[in-house]
């Protein structure tokens, strides 16, 4: 049987094992204060997480070295656009080749296409370019805050970012091969894979209706620069509004399928119980009687101006701020409460960078006397959705959008 590894070797390539190098380096110094890890995270996560620097990145919170899973510290999420060098890194599998853009090719075909084509990076760039500011958020962002805890990568708040993604529309790419009327799903795959050929390769599918939306793109630029290696160089799929599991990095294959794709990462992983979350977008061809693939993000917000427990000055007002986002329906309000959720006051919203982007918000909170203040933020969108007051349990720990409470100590 031809394995993925032997194919890479046959193609004259060298597969790098992320994390295989430099084992002799000293242990990273612990810096819990700088990390400001949530006390809700598992004890083992709090003990193991360190600030660590991947090539080309700022120090991020390392949850696992191999495959690399690094989240963005909250203080680097203060702006509505996340810099490339602060953007989180998430891989499922440990074999992560570094792609040569000169020999990279994107194959477009499948039984739901009229033919098969291959595009070079330059050919991809010759298609009409479009740019969309969009939030890329791991389905399991905040998994580590689940109570009871569920296994997986125990993310805090930072498995997300928002960037301006530029590329060709996926529908234009598909048009080059010719999409058949009975195409059902678009299957996307990239270069990264497992260490053994028995490990299911990370392959995802997207329903055709979502794949051909104007904002679904094959991106080759992120915030005006080539994609960083760790974020999918030279090209990745951008599915605004949907969780990052569909945003295939290092994409090399786009395949139109006339039947539901039944790979492990669709059939068994990234599933949520049917009907439990208030999501609109459905992936009907993948639904079962019990569950459905995760699709769009749930509405959420995060106060990023202060760490939990931060000291502030008593006797005046303290401006608290952060970011809010949803699946693209549009943030209509962020409300702030300082009385445990009994009364709410509208925060000021920042610049609108588009319906898929982070929306900044800020609010001056009165802190007349010394003491502890609990500040809550709750986002609402244009279709009336708002954040859940209580955790919605699900086995894999997805869609955590519980209203956050930030404690500030005025002195």
């Amino acid at each position: 049987m031809i394995t993925r590894r032997s194919l890479l070797e046959a193609a004259g390539t060298t597969a790098l094992l992320a994390g295989a190098g430099q084992l002799s380096q000293p242990l990273a110094a612990k810096a819990d204060e700088a990390l400001s890890l949530s006390p809700q995270l598992p004890e083992g996560t709090r003990a193991e997480a360190v600030l660590d620097t991947l090539p080309g990145k700022k120090p991020l919170i390392k949850l696992s070295y191999r495959p690399p899973n690094y989240e963005t510290p909250v203080e680097l999420l203060r702006g509505a656009i996340t810099p490339n060098d602060a953007f989180f890194v998430r891989y499922h599998l440990s074999d992560i080749p570094e792609v040569n853009p000169d020999t990279w090719r994107l194959s477009v075909g499948g039984d739901g296409a009229n033919g098969e084509i291959r595009l070079s990076l330059n050919e991809l760039k010759q298609l009409p370019a479009t740019e969309v500011a969009a939030v890329c958020q791991c389905s399991g962002n905040r998994r580590g805050l689940f109570e009871p805890h569920v296994p997986g990568v125990e993310w805090g708040y930072g498995a997300m970012g928002c960037a301006r993604w530029k590329g060709a529309r996926l529908k234009d790419v598909l048009d080059r091969a010719g999409l058949k009327a009975d195409a059902l799903e678009i299957v996307v795959a990239g270069t990264d894979g497992g260490i053994t050929d028995k490990t299911p390769k990370f392959v995802k599918s997207i329903p055709v209706w979502k794949a051909i939306e104007d904002t679904t793109i094959v991106a080759y630029e992120m915030n005006g620069a080539p994609l960083p290696h760790w974020n999918g160089f030279p090209a990745r799929i951008i599915v605004p509004g949907w969780t990052a599991t569909y945003w295939m990095k290092h994409v090399t294959s786009i395949s139109a399928a006339t039947k539901p794709f039944d790979g492990f990462w669709m059939k068994s992983a990234y599933r949520i119980p049917l009907g439990r979350f208030p999501v609109v977008a459905r992936f009907a061809s993948q639904e079962t009687a019990a569950n459905t693939p995760i699709t769009e993000m749930v509405i959420n917000s995060l106060m990023t101006s202060h760490g939990n427990g931060a000291s502030v000055k008593a006797g005046g007002k303290v401006t608290v701020g952060g970011i809010a986002w949803d699946a693209g329906y549009g943030i209509s309000a962020v409300d702030i409460s300082t009385d445990g959720g009994s009364t709410w006051t509208a925060a000021t919203l920042g610049e609108d960078l588009g319906r898929f982007a982070f929306r900044a918000f800020s609010h001056a909170v009165a802190m007349p006397t010394k003491g502890s203040y609990k500040v809550m933020a709750r986002a609402t969108n244009k279709i009336g959705q708002s954040q859940t007051p209580a955790l919605i349990q699900n086995p894999a720990g997805y869609h955590h959008n519980v209203v956050q409470t930030l404690t500030l100590v005025a002195a």
Partner: protein, 94 residues
């Protein structure tokens, strides 16, 4: 999947800089630690284990070991799987 294979053949990869600098992850000493290191660390760094502690009960750790073998194809013998499961429950369990 033919298209994926073709894409793979044409996908170049350079052996250059972007490798994460993995630091050693020390497990608690105990019977079976060697089996964990020999088997689990082939595919992922051992911080995955410590990160997922100490909240899994015995059934939870058994399910993780079963998933690694059944779903992810880890080539672990039944005897080693038992030793690994026992070690994880004893040192990183609830």
């Amino acid at each position: 999947m033919r298209s994926i294979i073709i894409a793979m053949l044409s996908c170049g990869a350079l052996a250059i800089a972007a490798v994460a600098a993995e630091k050693p992850v020390e497990l608690k000493p105990g019977p079976g630690a060697d089996k964990v290191e020999a088997n689990c660390a082939a595919c992922h760094s051992l911080d995955y284990i410590k990160m997922n502690s100490p909240f899994l009960n015995a059934a939870g750790w058994d399910a993780e070991v079963t998933k690694m073998i059944g779903a992810f194809g880890a080539p672990i013998s039944p005897a080693d799987a038992k030793v690994i499961g026992d070690y994880l429950k004893a040192h990183y369990g609830q």
